[in-house]
């Protein structure tokens, strides 16, 4: 005669095993579909910031960079390269504004090697709905104000929100969010401009 505690423990273990096996199976089944969704999301964004490029080629020519002082994250981020006739004509940089109103704002920015921003998009953020979330394109077209803006020594000061003496609009009631985004885009552009060796590094991203 088994002790009831032993019996209960065994029963509980059995239920746990059943639950775990079902979930493992489900995870196996959904994994390809989830990977597909992530990839599609990424491809759509890549296409959005750099419509001229073939997305698959961008994905294949990607380097993984850790540069917290430029790109705002201590973990590696992807820099995609678009080549025309072997010469890099644009980089797509994943960057982070670490100083958003509520945490990190992840961005994707297309930049030419000379430091001209072609386009910028928000990947992920937790900014206040109704105030800071105007950095989403479906809420406001503010992100379009980065299109074809060049950064160079002479105009670094104008890369700021109007309140700080720059050229970019802030939002009514929210200055911290646009300030963080403008700074992050500026840093990404300067990073590309000052690191021409980015074009030469061998592609080393994990497969997407």
């Amino acid at each position: 005669m088994k002790h009831p505690v032993t019996k209960n423990a065994l029963l509980l273990a059995l239920v746990a095993i059943i639950c775990v096996s079902i979930l493992t199976l489900l995870q196996q089944l959904t994994a390809p579909r989830i990977a597909e969704q992530r990839l599609a999301n990424r491809l759509a964004l890549l296409h959005d910031v750099l419509p001229a490029a073939a997305e698959q080629q961008l994905l294949d020519d990607c380097i993984s960079i850790t540069a917290p002082e430029w790109l705002g994250r201590t973990s590696p981020q992807s820099v995609f390269r678009w080549r025309e006739q072997g010469v890099v004509s644009a980089f797509v940089v994943e960057t982070t504004a670490p100083d958003g109103y509520s945490g990190n704002i992840d961005l994707m920015v297309a930049i030419t090697p000379d430091g001209t921003v072609l386009a910028a998009r928000t990947l992920a953020h937790q900014e206040t709905p109704g105030l800071g979330d105007k950095i989403e394109l479906r809420k406001s077209d503010w992100m379009h104000s980065f299109a074809n803006q060049a950064v160079h020594e002479a105009n670094v000061r104008s890369w700021a929100v109007r309140k700080d003496g720059g050229d970019f609009d802030q939002f009514t009631g929210a200055t911290i969010t646009p300030r963080a985004v403008v700074n992050a885009v500026k840093r990404a552009a300067l990073f590309v401009q000052q690191h021409p060796e980015l074009a030469e590094q061998p592609a080393n991203c994990e497969a997407f």
Binding site: P4, L12, I22, L23, A40, T128, P129, L131, T172
Partner: protein, 231 residues
């Protein structure tokens, strides 16, 4: 039997509504109801988890010893939540991103373990499933009412971003009711959720009280008539 089902339906949808009366699952309820779309997404997810967990708990109720029923219910519910999370990640990716942390938080929605313990563990599968359906619908209805209220006041729209949940055809659902220059922030932020919830509960109580008063008046009248016949 149908009387029973009717009773279950009124319990879940109105008189014992998990959102308005039991006040269970307030954390996700208040946090994600800033738009109708988010509310609908969370409502459906919670309904599915509740239905699944009630069915399973009811199916195994005769084999589960009393002493370990709670850990087993928790395991069952957690499994269902994880399954829903995986499925949403795979098939409604954008909504998955929008609801984020609140999908795993369905586990902590006391309405679910509450129904498992209070109803499903004592009743056959069919009534349990029906109970889950009604409780889930009741909860979803509160989510939707609050979501509609806050979205309307906050940004003057309804069904903004519904395409993330229902596919691209749903873009046509978006209604711009009021064109607001500035968002009414209070409605969109958590304090607005609390105030809105308070108003909903007050509204429900007011309706109940009025009904009660009417009933009292009716009984009073019937009594009068009864005495009348005796005389």
């Amino acid at each position: 039997m149908s009387q029973n089902y009717k009773e279950l339906a009124t319990q879940g949808l109105w008189s014992n509504n998990p959102g308005l009366v039991q006040l269970l699952g307030l954390c996700p309820l208040l946090a994600v109801t800033n738009t109708v779309t988010n509310a609908l997404g969370l409502g459906i997810a919670t309904l599915l988890v509740l239905l699944g967990s009630n069915l399973v708990v009811s199916a195994i109720r005769n084999w589960v010893p009393r002493e370990i029923r709670i850990p087993i219910f928790v395991l069952v519910i957690a499994s269902f939540v994880t399954a829903v999370q995986l499925l949403m990640n795979a098939f409604t990716y954008e909504l998955y991103l929008a609801l984020g942390i609140f999908i795993p938080l369905i586990v902590t929605n006391c309405a679910i373990i509450g129904r498992a313990e209070a109803f499903a563990s004592k009743n056959p599968m069919l009534p349990s499933a029906f109970d889950a359906l009604m409780m889930g619908l009741g909860f979803a209805a509160v989510l939707l009412a609050l979501g509609a209220m806050r979205e309307l006041l906050g940004q003057g729209t309804l069904f903004d971003g519904a395409d993330a949940l229902l596919g691209s055809w749903a873009q046509a659902l978006r209604v711009e009711v009021l064109a607001l220059d500035h968002y009414f922030l209070l409605a969109l932020l958590p304090p607005g959720a609390f105030i809105g919830m308070g108003l909903l509960i007050a509204g429900k109580n007011a309706i109940d009280q009025r009904k009660q008063r009417k009933q009292q008046v009716k009984t009073a009248i019937t009594r009068a008539r009864v005495t009348g016949t005796i005389v």
